[in-house]
């Protein structure tokens, strides 16, 4: 039986990409798999009775060491903001390459709490900050200080004690360039260091509540139980800044999607399965349907998607229970899901199928990085007729878009001067479109195509470039897409109907985020590491924690 990879024109639509769920390929899970045999320990925790001070957490194996330096500072309630324009936070973090000296700690103390306004060095690898969920933090500290465990219904509704509002890496604000660490074996997967930072920061949030509760009432205080702590993750608020990343890194995007598609293809190709494989899938399906009730959101968009997911899952459950084990079982399951459910449910089932086959899926996580520089150069010896054909084949979806219509060019992307972060605005009512970022891929490739069509047949790309360089940035992409077909989102990223949250969701699902809670069409709250093993038990992790029942 032949089963091809799903076609880019099917997968790379934003309504499907924006329905992706965490899976075995997600970066926070591959981080734990990669580092589970390393030593994790608290190196230093110097906090006052209100929990202000610093802590250092070390991840170590043989001579290799990474340290998370955490700072906890007082923050007035009216200064607490999840928005990227905030300038103060409850906590700030920096991942250090090695173990910092006292001089390093002093330097970091003066800079890390300032985040974008501070300056770090190439000794540092990642930078982040977080704010308390004040409601949950106070409840937990109050309960623990009275010798009681907190109310889990409140805790699990929120899912975390702190939420991060940005995680920076790869050379930003003076951090080490990726080139410094790219050849380290343990960092071969994407965003490994960012995942390490968030994982260690989660431990810091537990240590703070335990410390403050103890300081409030040394005689009565108890520690947060491991079972409750394990079911708390760390939150994250993410805005539009994340969206351009997946457009600006087409080769990397291809690797992520291709790994998922290869996993699905391999599973669909399994000809015979045993009853226990079906049972394993069913057990994950049962648990996750229970956990979905903790996916709280006020977003009508997400509420509708979640309701549809539950409805589709109910129908799928009935179908699945009655499905006899026959040849090509998973291919039958997948085809049913594709034909009978919305993308939210279909992609959910794909993620669940991947859980059953770690031997197929986990090795693919090592294929999710790529040297992007290898794909940067333009082959100017290529014939323009060939390039036109490539566009007709790979970008057929954009050739008929009428870019004279207002709704098709409604938005423009730009860099905010205030925060040096990408933003999106209405081209027709706001200023700045003359400084538009090169993210209008569909519009520019159509323009490139029209220009190439005016060139003399048989002429080469070099001849075109000697006359016009305006579309050089998208010409590059056409060649990338030729080699890496999952590199391009196949939707118009400047249209009025664009839902940017779908772009965020795509990236966050690969991070391993859960509980998507869009707060508007432009930013979203999520949870990471909910259910993940605690630092002290990471060695025992078997990568099934994502499908443990929360309560």
């Amino acid at each position: 039986m032949e089963i091809n990879l799903r076609k880019p024109e099917f997968v790379m639509k934003l309504d499907r990409l924006g329905s992706f769920h965490q899976s075995k390929l997600s970066f926070l899970r591959s981080f734990i798999r990669e580092f589970k045999d390393w030593d994790f320990y608290n190196h230093e925790l110097i906090l006052d009775n209100k929990g202000f001070g610093h802590g250092i957490y070390v991840v170590q194996k043989d001579e290799k060491q990474y340290s998370l330096v955490c700072f906890s500072n007082h923050l007035n309630d009216n200064d607490r903001s999840d928005r990227v324009i905030a300038t103060k936070w409850d906590a700030s973090f920096v991942l250090f390459d090695g173990i910092p000296t006292q001089e390093d700690i002093q330097r970091l103390k003066e800079n890390v709490p300032l985040q974008e306004q501070g300056r770090v060095s190439e000794k540092e690898l990642c930078l982040s900050r977080a704010n308390k969920s004040v409601r949950v933090f106070e409840h937990v500290v109050d309960s623990l200080s009275k010798g009681q465990q907190p109310d889990t219904s409140l805790l699990y509704d929120v899912g975390y004690l702190y939420r991060t509002t940005a995680v920076y890496g790869s050379g930003k604000f003076g951090l080490a360039d990726r080139i410094k660490i790219q050849d380290r074996g343990e960092l071969k997967g994407p965003f490994r260091l960012e995942m390490m930072l968030v994982y260690l920061a989660r431990q810091f949030t537990f240590d703070i509540v335990n410390h403050v509760a103890y300081e409030r009432s040394p005689k009565d205080a108890v520690k947060l139980s491991d079972d409750i702590a394990r079911n708390l993750g760390i939150g994250n608020s993410t805005g539009l800044g994340m969206a351009p990343f997946i457009v600006n890194h087409p080769a990397l995007l291809n690797q992520w999607i291709r790994a998922k598609e290869k996993a699905l293809q391999a599973i669909r190709l399994i000809s015979t399965i045993e009853e226990n494989e079906k049972k394993t899938f069913q057990s994950y399906l049962t648990t996750i349907q229970e956990n979905i009730k903790y996916w709280k959101t006020d977003s009508p968009y997400q509420i509708e998607k979640n309701n549809q997911l539950l409805k589709d899952l109910k129908e799928f459950q009935e179908y699945f229970l009655n499905l006899p084990i026959e040849k090509s079982f998973w291919n039958t399951v997948y085809l049913w899901a594709e034909q009978n459910t919305k993308p939210e449910c279909c992609e959910f089932i794909v993620s669940l199928m991947m859980e059953v086959y770690p031997d197929i899926v986990e090795p693919l996580s090592y294929e999710m990085s790529i040297d992007e520089e290898e794909y940067f150069d333009i082959d100017s010896s290529r014939n323009v007729d060939d390039v036109c054909k490539l566009i007709e084949q790979q970008y057929a979806w954009l050739l008929d878009i009428n870019f004279n219509q207002k709704e098709n060019i409604f938005n423009f992307w730009y860099y905010s001067k205030n925060k040096q972060e990408p933003r999106m605005s209405d081209r027709f009512s706001e200023e700045g479109s003359d400084l538009e970022l090169p993210l209008a891929i569909a519009r520019d490739i159509q323009s490139l195509y029209r220009e190439l069509k005016t060139m003399k047949s048989g002429s080469d790309v070099g001849s075109y470039l000697s006359k016009n360089q305006q579309y050089r940035h998208v010409l590059r992409r056409v060649f990338i897409c030729e080699k890496l077909p999952y590199s391009e989102i196949q939707d118009n990223t400047i249209s009025k109907s664009l839902i940017p949250v779908d772009m965020l969701r795509l990236k966050l699902s690969f991070f391993g985020a859960t509980r998507f809670d869009p707060r508007s069409d432009r930013w979203v709250r999520i949870t990471m590491y909910q259910g993940a093993p605690l630092m002290k038990e990471i060695k025992k992790s078997n990568d099934t924690w994502s499908y443990k029942k929360i309560a």
């Binding site: 951090l175 333009i378 470039l465 360089q469 998208v474």
Partner: protein, 198 residues
């Protein structure tokens, strides 16, 4: 110290702010990053270019261009990067003046590697050679801030840079790794015992 990421993104944005297209700006960012990564003073060179003003620079767009005063190194480098696969480019060109010639190096290095061509830049006080093997060599002084009255040769074939005598001596030494064969071994080698006229 700024990271290479900061250097690349800043140069890209500056280039765009000065009127270059996004595609060229991306190339400029990578070029300056690569110079700085090699401890060459690309950032200062780029700053002098900005101070001089892109509007005062001449873009190299074709081989028979008559105005080659104040040539922009980014467009100069890109021109040869984009065109050096063509046979008609494989010759020697005369130019009047090039600003900040350091900046052409990353472009020419990539062109040499991709198209397997050799570049030789020559002026009275300075010469530069770039090969497909990611090697460039300077002779006659340091890279000036401006280069006048110079030639650029694009050569499709490797040149012989050694004497026949040197080669012969080295070849003779290489023979020391060979073993003399006895008559008996010669007779029992491949094809032994067979007639070649079968």
């Amino acid at each position: 110290m700024q990271s290479l990421y900061e250097i690349e993104t800043t140069i890209k944005r500056v280039s765009k702010s000065q009127g270059l297209s996004w595609g060229i700006s991306e190339e400029a960012g990578k070029a300056i990053r690569s110079l700085e990564q090699s401890n060459l003073n690309g950032l200062e060179s780029f700053k002098r270019l900005i101070d001089y003003g892109f509007n005062n620079l001449t873009k190299l767009l074709q081989t028979n261009q008559t105005n080659t005063q104040n040539l922009c190194p980014i467009h100069f480098g890109l021109f040869f990067y984009d065109q050096s696969h063509k046979k008609e480019i494989h010759k020697t060109f005369n130019f009047y003046e090039l600003r900040e010639p350091l900046i052409i190096i990353p472009f020419i290095l990539k062109a040499a590697k991709r198209n397997l061509v050799y570049f030789k830049l020559n002026s009275k006080d300075f010469s530069l050679s770039i090969t497909p093997g990611n090697i460039f060599s300077l002779t006659k002084g340091e890279i000036p801030q401006s280069l006048s009255d110079f030639t650029l040769s694009v050569i499709p074939q490797r040149e012989v840079n050694y004497s026949e005598k040197t080669w012969d001596e080295l070849y003779q030494l290489s023979l020391d790794t060979f073993v003399d064969e006895s008559e008996e071994k010669k007779l029992s080698g491949a094809g032994a015992g067979l007639t070649d006229n079968d």
